[in-house]
C-alpha cells in the first residue's frame, strides 16, 4: 500500500456554514506536509472526513487508495492525533494506550515500547486527567505511533508545547518523513511549520488556496524585489533603467527595484559609480508569503493586529 492521503472534492456544510468547499489535495510519502489555514478554514473537518468520522456531502478521501473505514486495523496504516485532550481523566496513560493497542490486535509489549519512547515511563500509571497539555500531546503522539503506521496525521501538534517540546516535535516529524512516511500536520501558525514542512497545503474557506513546496512559495513571494537606499537617486534610476529594471520610489525615500537580483544591482551601481548606503534583497518570511496568499481567503481577520494570528 502506498503511503498517501488523497482528498478529492470534499464538500460539507454544518447548518448554514460551508465547512468544506471542494477541498482537494494529496499527501505524499517521504515529506512533511503542512496543512495551514486560519481557524475555521476546514482543516479539522477534513481530517475527520479522512478518518471516516464525518461524512462529506460530496467528494472522497482515500488512505493508500482505500477509504479509512475499510482498513482492517486502521491504526496500523494511519496514526492520528486529533485532540490531545480526548482522554478519560480517570484512566491512566498506560490504560489509554492499552485499549487502543488491543483494538488493533497489538500487545501490551508494544504499549510499553511507545511509553518508553515517548518519555512517559514515570507517569504511565498516573491518571491522565492530571497531565499537562504537553504531556497529553506526547501521549497522543505515542497513541498515533502504536500501530507503527506509514502515514501520520496530527492536528495542531504544537499546541501547548514548551519551546523544548516544539524542538522535539520538529525533529520527530522530520525523522518520520526521512523514513519515508507520509506526515500531514495542521497548524494555524505558519511559523510553527518553518524548518519542518517540505510541502504546504494552504487552505481558506473550505478549499485549497495553494498547494506548493515551501521553496517555491518563498521564491514566488519574494518576487525578486530589491530595496535600495542612495543619496544619488537620479543616477541610480538611470543606471538601473538601462539594465531593464523597473524602479519605484518607496514612501521612506528608498527605491524598490524589481526584475534584478540584489547582486546584479550592486554590480550595476558600482560600474556606474553611483554611491549607495544599502542594497537589500526583499526578505520574505514564510509567514509573510502565506499572508499574501491568504489575504483573499481569510474569513475572519483581526483588523489591526500587531501579531497576526492567523
Amino acid at each position: 500500500m502506498e503511503a498517501t492521503i488523497e482528498v478529492t472534492g470534499l464538500r460539507k456544510r454544518f447548518g448554514a456554514a460551508l465547512a468544506l468547499d471542494g477541498m482537494s489535495f494529496t499527501v505524499q510519502p517521504g515529506q512533511v506536509t503542512g496543512f495551514v489555514g486560519p481557524n475555521g478554514a476546514g482543516k479539522s473537518t477534513t481530517m475527520r472526513v479522512i478518518l471516516g468520522l464525518d461524512a462529506p456531502e460530496a467528494g472522497r478521501a482515500l488512505v493508500g487508495g482505500r477509504p479509512y473505514a475499510s482498513l482492517p486495523y486502521p491504526m496500523r496504516y494511519l496514526g492520528s492525533l486529533l485532540d490531545a485532550g480526548a482522554l478519560q481523566p480517570g484512566r491512566s496513560a498506560r490504560g489509554h494506550l492499552l485499549w487502543l493497542a488491543f483494538s488493533q490486535g497489538l500487545t501490551a509489549q508494544r504499549v510499553d515500547e511507545v511509553i518508553e519512547q515517548a518519555g512517559l515511563s514515570t507517569v504511565a500509571r498516573r491518571r491522565a486527567g492530571g497531565f499537562s497539555l504537553g504531556m497529553r500531546q506526547r501521549l497522543g503522539v505515542a497513541a498515533a505511533m502504536l500501530g507503527d503506521p506509514m502515514i501520520l496525521m496530527l492536528d495542531e501538534p504544537f499546541n501547548g508545547l514548551d519551546p523544548e517540546g516544539i524542538v522535539w516535535m520538529r525533529g520527530f516529524l522530520r525523522s518520520l518523513a526521512r523514513q519515508g512516511r507520509a506526515v500531514l500536520v495542521s497548524s494555524h501558525l505558519m511559523s510553527e511549520l518553518e524548518d519542518t514542512a517540505d510541502h504546504l497545503v494552504v487552505v481558506g474557506r473550505g478549499r485549497v488556496v495553494a498547494d506548493t513546496s515551501v521553496a517555491a512559495l518563498l521564491a514566488a513571494a519574494a518576487g525578486g524585489r530589491v530595496t535600495l537606499r542612495t543619496a544619488a537617486v537620479p543616477e541610480a534610476v538611470t543606471a538601473l533603467d538601462r539594465a531593464g529594471a523597473a524602479v519605484a520610489a518607496s514612501g521612506d525615500g528608498a527605491l524598490t527595484i524589481s526584475g534584478l537580483p540584489a547582486e546584479r544591482v550592486i554590480t550595476l551601481l558600482s560600474q556606474a559609480g553611483v554611491p549607495f548606503s544599502e542594497v537589500s534583497g526583499h526578505r520574505v518570511t514564510l509567514e509573510q508569503a502565506y499572508l499574501d496568499l491568504t489575504r483573499e481567503a481569510v474569513e475572519f481577520r483581526a483588523e489591526p493586529a500587531p501579531e497576526v494570528a492567523l
Binding site: 486495523y73 488493533q104 515517548a118 518519555g119 505511533m145 520527530f172
Partner: protein, 536 residues
Amino acid sequence: MSSGLIAPRRPGLRPDRASFAQALRAEWVKFRTVRGWVIAMIVAALITVFLGIFAAGNLSIGCQSRPNGPVLTGRACTPHFPIGPDGEAVVDSYYFAHQTLTGNGSITVRVASLTGLYSSNGKGGQNPLAGMTKGLVPWAKAGIIVTDGMRPGSAYAAVMVTGAHGVRMQDNYVHDTAGLTGQATATSPRWLRLIRSGDTITGYDSADGSHWSLVGSTVLTGLRHSVQAGLFVTSPIYTVTAQSFGSSTTHGGPSQATAAFDDISRRGTWPAKAWIGTEVGTGAASPGTGIGYVRVTPGAVTVSGSGDIAPLATGPGASGPVSVFEQPLTGLFAGLIAIVVVAAMFFTVEYRRGLIRTTLAASPRRGRVLAAKATVVGAVAFVVGLVASVLAITLGLPRQRNQGSYVLPASMLTELRVIVGTAALVAITAVMAVAIGAILRRSAAAVTAAIVVIVLPFLLAVTVLPVSVAAWVLRLTPAAGFAIEQSIPHYPQVSSVISPADGSYPLPPWGGFAVLCAWAVVALAGAYVLLRRRDA
C-alpha cells in the same frame, strides 16, 4: 528520543481482519481501567445485599400460641402449610361429604343452588357466622371431587360451580379450566360429572342433564385404587382493597358457602351407602370458619363449607406470615440505579471529551463498537447481579425464616431462575442504559432518562400507584422485567391483589423479561441507526 517512537518495520506482520473479539477486549480494558466504575459496580452489589438483608430482617412478626397467651416472636410463629403434589404450598380446607370409590367409576350430580355469607368487616369473633352479609365470594366452590385422601395437600381433581367464575375443572391446586359460564341457581342449575378411569379423571358439565360437554381431563399419576369421592363446598377469605392514590388498605374475613345437590348418581364400586361428612384441613393454616356440615334428605344433599382448595398466595388473604423466596432482592432497585448510571456514562463520557473519535478511528465499524460496549457492560452487570442476588438470598432467607416468616417453597429450577434471572435483568437493564447513552450522548440526560424509563416505573408501581395503574406499568414499561424475580406465579383462580411488593406481577416471569428485552432491542436499534448516521 527524536525518533524513538518509530519501531523497526515488521514486514512479516500482516494486519489480520479485525475481529469483534479485539473490540470487546478494548472495551473491557476501557472499563476496568477506570477505578470509579469498578468501585461503583461493587457498591451496587453491596447496596443490593444490605438493603435485602435489612428488609428480610425487619418483618416484625408476632403471634400468640393461644388466645390471651404471651406474644411470641421468631420461629415459634412460623405457620405450616400443606404441600401440594407439585411441591408448592397450598391451602386445602373444605367440607367434604364423601364415600370410598374402588377402581374405576363415576359420579354425577345436579347443583341446584349455591348461596353464601361473607364477613365484610373482617371480624371473626366467637361465632364467625354472626354479623355476616349474604352473598357469594367470587371463588366460592361447590361440586364433586375425587381425591387421593383427606390429608391436606393430597392429589385431586374436581369439577365445580363457583361464585362468579362459572363451572371450572381444577386439579392439584394449580390447574384450572373453565367450563359453562354463569351461576348455578334454582332456575339454571348445573349438572357436573367426574369419571375416573385408572389415573385419568375427566370432568363434564351440562346445563340440562342430557347434553354434556367435556370441561377437561387430567392424569393423577399414582392415584390409589380406592379413592375418596363425593361432594365438597369451600369458600375463601373475602377481601376488599380500598385504593386511594398513595395507599391501599385491605380488609376482609372468612366466608361460608352452602350448596344443594340432587339428582346424584354413581357408577362403579361404591361399598358404603351413606355420605360421611368431614371437615378437611382445619387449624391454623385454614382460612375457613371451621363450621361446615352435610345434611342428607331423601334425594338431596346439602353441604356447607369454608376454606379454599388452591395454591397459597402472599399478600392480603394469606393465612399467617408468608413471604417469598425473592424477598431479599428488595434492594435490587437501588443497586440498579448505580449500575444504570455507570452503564449510561460508559458511552456518554466519550462524547464529553471527544474520546469517541479516538474510539471510532480505532474501530470504524460503529455497530461493532456499540455491540462491544453493550456486551462488556452487560457481562459486568450480569456478574454483579449474580453475586448480589446469591449473597442477598443466602444471607437474607435465613433471617427471614428466623423472624418466623413462612417462605413459600419453590422448585430448585425456579430458585435458579430467580437468581440467574435477576442477574439477566440487571444485565439487560445495563445494556439498555448503554444504548440510551449512545442515543442522548450527554451524561446527565442519559442517566436521567435511563432511571426514569427503567427504575422509576418500578418504584412507582410498588409504592404510590393504584394497583390497576401499577399493573399496566408492570406490563408495558421496562419495569416488567422485574417479573423474572417472581418465584410464585400469579394464579388467576386465586383472588389476590397483584402487588410486586408481595412478589406477584401481572406478567409471567419470562413474559415480563421479554418486555424488557424488547425495550432493550428498540433502544439498541435506535442507538445503532443514530451512531451510524451522525458525525462523530
